[in-house]
């Protein structure tokens, strides 16, 4: 009998919240890939969506607002054997956490960043977020399109967008993203369109306006230029492109943790005890003159 561990609690989300779809898809994807609870670490942001780790039987960390990516990258670099997911909302990722968001593409650590985008700050009761449409709660700033930014960074990342109204499609994409991470290929970014039923109920609009990019003529997820153009066209027509937007053509292990440590031990498993490193230390100290 293993010891009794953390038991998930009931989600705090409003009935019908898009985040339920994400929770279900994460569970299914992890089960399909046979990831044991102790192998999975989920770093949550601040906001409704960032509480997702409380509802799962896994290792959870609740990060500071906007800082889930550096924490998740720290976990992965310290122990590359863990499967690491960072999950939060659009305010957490694209406002307070924007600096880390941009650098995560370039760092390319093999973690999954899952943003539940509801175009509002739900937990603080409906203020406009970086992705809010013009006119929402007096918003006059144009919405930020994370996917266009993601496509503009030339790094071997896996990029996709999903919709909570299509849990099956989301599960398949999350599975592919986690697999990508577990093979050490690099950073996976998945933005889920996850409506806030209380402050910004976009289910109806999104059901009508999502477009599966794979059905578009010229779809080529290995070509950033093409995908940027396809997405921009759709956005300009008021539509919401979903599906895999970028998938590196070569199956190379480009993850930061692989670049830094190869298949080496990683800091946690690297020996930090004195005895086994003594000769090395003595040399280091003897070099001081």
């Amino acid at each position: 009998m293993p010891p009794k561990s953390f038991k998930p609690v009931q989600p705090i989300w409003c009935p019908g919240c898009g985040d339920f779809g994400v929770l279900a898809a994460v569970k299914r994807a992890a089960a399909n890939l046979h990831i044991a609870p102790h192998e999975l670490v989920l770093v949550g942001g601040i906001g409704c969506s960032g509480s997702i780790h409380n509802f799962l039987e896994i290792n959870g960390i609740h990060a500071l607002h906007g800082r889930l990516l550096p924490q998740a990258i720290g976990v992965k670099l310290a122990n590359p054997a863990l499967t690491v997911v960072a999950a939060g909302g659009d305010g957490d990722g694209y406002a307070i956490g924007m600096g880390h968001f941009l650098h995560a593409f370039k760092k390319n650590a093999s973690i999954l960043y899952l943003v539940m985008n509801n175009e509002t700050y739900g937990l603080t009761k409906g203020q406009p977020s970086p992705t809010s449409q013009i006119g929402f709660e007096g918003n006059v700033e144009p919405p930020f399109h994370a996917m266009l930014t993601a496509l503009s960074v030339p790094a071997p990342n896996f990029l996709a967008r999903t919709f909570s109204g299509d849990p099956k499609g989301m599960t398949a994409i999350l599975e592919e993203a986690l697999k990508f991470n577990r093979e050490g290929r690099g950073f996976a970014f998945v933005e889920d369109l996850s409506p806030c039923v209380t402050y910004n109920d976009t289910y109806k609009l999104w059901r009508e306006k999502v477009v599966d990019v794979t059905t578009l003529p010229g779809y080529d997820p290995t070509n950033r230029r093409t995908m940027f153009g396809l997405c921009l066209d759709q956005i300009e027509q008021g539509r919401f492109p979903v599906g895999v937007l970028h998938r590196p053509s070569a199956a190379e292990r480009e993850g930061l943790e692989v670049k830094l440590m190869g298949d080496g031990p990683g800091p946690v498993r690297a020996s930090s005890d004195l005895a086994s490193n003594r000769a090395h230390y003595e040399k280091l100290l003897a070099a001081l003159a």
Binding site: E39, S51, P70, I73, G74, L77, G99
Partner: protein, 582 residues
């Protein structure tokens, strides 16, 4: 024309200040002199005063060589080496009455009486093709001025330039001879001074920053994330060399927010993790440090303080972060602030800090200051024998398997919970900065909140006897007390010797744990003296304030000696401060 001297003036404690434009090679002259004096068995302490720019602008360096162990800048300059007029202007006030100036007369003339000008740039420019060798020529002239042993003088050049290229070595040896020849031909220069031999052999020359990096490495530190900031950057640079061969990771993050949070993530995953920064970065990291304390994740933060606030004087010395560290952040949480006094202390204390962080599952702040971080000092070799690694209540997979339940925040007698690194089969947990129950579930229960506050906050009292103990110097009967921390210890110890020679015995308490304020050490110390001078490099007397608050019954005995001009203390300033305050 300088007056010829009958006999060389023998110096057992000397200081040479070298000033010029950035890029003139003042640091090279300082380095060459330091190497030479060490060959003579002297203790060496070097400091530098550079502007926050890569090239140009005035920069100076000073080298002190002494028969007695020293870790302070000498108040008076015996020899000033000037590559520009500014060096003369700045050095004038500190020049001893017997002081002498060697300067490059290519571009200016010195108006000081005891001076010899040599057109170093022109002298080397012709035969060597480049004026940049003027610094080595100046070293040659200095070797004549001090009557250096010629063989040892050349050895220094060989040791320094051998690794560059045969051509660099050859040209520098030529520049040395050019400088020597010029000085030998000038009246009143040769052997004006002589240097005694010392007994300081088999010592190393190092900085506080290098000591921290080495302490972290041998203490089992395997993860570092930081962001470049003067005067902390060298810690990251050393670790970039030390850690990767051991399987460790060093990352330069996009900002200090990322650095501290990467460290938190790595600590969560079970690595010994650290960051280093200075004031502005510390401000950005503050939210993260509070998070680590509440989430009960051990982290180590080295703060190498500089003149603040804001950009302040980024390359200059100050001890102005202490109040911030003692009150760090919003809300209330435990933290240990410990301050080494010298590189040997910094090495040992970094290992101790890692152990404290792991044993108590708290953030530990290692407080350095610019002088300790960057000035070089000869010191005894770091001792591996004293290094002990204690990872605290960490459970092995076998121990975990034997548990009935795995509570990440389980209550215990000392407030510290046992834990296992994530990935340990069979268990998982929830780690959070939200108030939580023993399982990590978010909790707003008032009874639980009180219990958790006690669990965390009482670590500060319970750890008391494990925190670095202060050190006492000077006779126990002395009625005049001195209190200080960090690099200020060097000038305080020197001031003690000056005072002793004038018949004023003093007792010095070197605080090594600053927060929680060690009342158990301060109380008996203050009870034993009639008056105590708190010597610190800040405007408001930050440590004095903490001491007053902690042992208010000794209030009337406390005086402050403060310096906040960007430079470290010179021993006579402390002596003068005592006279003024008395």
């Amino acid at each position: 024309m300088p007056e010829p001297r009958a006999r060389p003036l023998e110096l057992a404690d000397l200081s040479v200040m070298i000033g010029g434009q950035g890029g003139d090679g003042t640091l090279t002259v300082s380095d060459l002199l330091g190497r030479y004096f060490r060959k003579r068995g002297l203790y060496v302490y070097t400091s530098r005063n550079v502007l926050s720019r890569i090239r140009g602008g005035h920069a100076d360096a000073s080298v002190r060589a002494s028969r007695d162990a020293t870790a302070a800048v000498k108040a008076q300059v015996d020899v000033l080496v000037a590559f520009d007029q500014q060096a003369i202007d700045l050095g004038r006030a500190e020049l001893a009455s017997h002081g002498f100036v060697i300067y490059d007369s290519t571009t200016f003339r010195s108006d000081l009486p005891n001076a010899a000008g040599f057109p170093f740039a022109t002298l080397v420019g012709g035969p060597l093709g480049q004026p940049i060798f003027k610094n080595t020529a100046a070293y040659g002239a200095l070797s004549v001025l001090f009557g250096f042993d010629h063989t040892q003088t050349r050895e220094v050049i060989e040791e320094r330039f051998r690794r560059r290229s045969p051509e660099a070595l050859e040209k520098n040896l030529k520049a040395l001879e050019i400088g020597r020849k010029a000085a030998l031909e000038a009246p009143g220069v040769a052997h004006r001074f002589s240097v005694v031999d010392g007994e300081a052999h088999d010592l190393i020359l190092t900085t506080g920053n290098q000591a921290v990096a080495l302490g972290f490495t041998v203490g089992g530190g395997r993860f570092f994330a930081g962001y470049p900031i003067t005067p902390a950057t060298e810690i990251m640079e050393y670790l970039q060399r030390y850690l990767p061969p051991l399987g460790g990771v060093v990352r330069q993050a996009e900002d200090e927010l990322a650095a501290i949070n990467m460290v938190i993530g790595a600590s969560y995953a079970g690595a010994r993790a650290m960051t280093s920064t200075s004031g502005p970065g510390l401000s950005l990291m503050t939210e993260g440090i509070g998070h680590a304390a509440t989430a009960e994740l051990p982290i180590l933060v080295a703060d190498c303080s500089r003149v603040g606030p804001s950009t302040g004087q980024p390359t200059r010395h100050e001890q102005g972060d202490l109040s911030h560290l003692a009150n760090l952040g919003h809300g209330e949480y435990p933290r240990f602030v410990i301050a080494p006094a010298d590189p040997v202390d910094a090495f040992g204390m970094t290992v101790e800090a890692l152990n404290l962080a792991d044993r108590w599952r708290v953030p530990v702040i290692l407080l350095l200051d610019q002088a300790l971080s960057q000035n070089t000092t000869t010191t005894r070799r770091f001792d591996l024998e004293k290094v002990v690694i204690d990872r605290g209540p960490r459970l092995s997979p076998e121990q975990v398997a034997g548990l009935a339940e795995y509570k990440i925040y389980g209550f215990s007698e000392n407030g510290v919970s046992t834990w296992a690194a994530p990935g340990t089969p069979g268990v998982w947990s929830e780690v959070t900065g939200n108030e939580h129950d023993e399982w990590g579930h978010v909790s707003v229960d008032p009874v639980n909140r009180r219990k958790m506050m006690h669990k965390r906050m009482e670590k500060m009292q319970k750890a008391r006897d494990e925190l670095p103990a202060g050190r006492l110097f000077g006779p126990a009967h002395a009625k005049v007390g001195l209190i200080g921390f960090g690099s200020t210890s060097g000038p305080i110890l020197e001031a003690q010797r000056l005072l002793e020679s004038r018949g004023v015995p003093t007792r010095y308490y070197q605080a090594r744990t600053l927060y929680p304020v060690p009342a158990h050490e301060l109380d008996p110390f203050l009870a034993g003296v009639d008056v105590a001078y708190l010597v610190e490099n800040n405007y408001t007397g930050q440590f004095a304030r903490l001491v007053r608050e902690t042992v208010p019954w000794h209030h009337a005995k406390l005086r402050s000696i403060l310096k906040y001009d960007g430079a470290s203390f010179r021993a006579p300033e402390i002596v003068a401060g005592i006279r003024e305050a008395a």
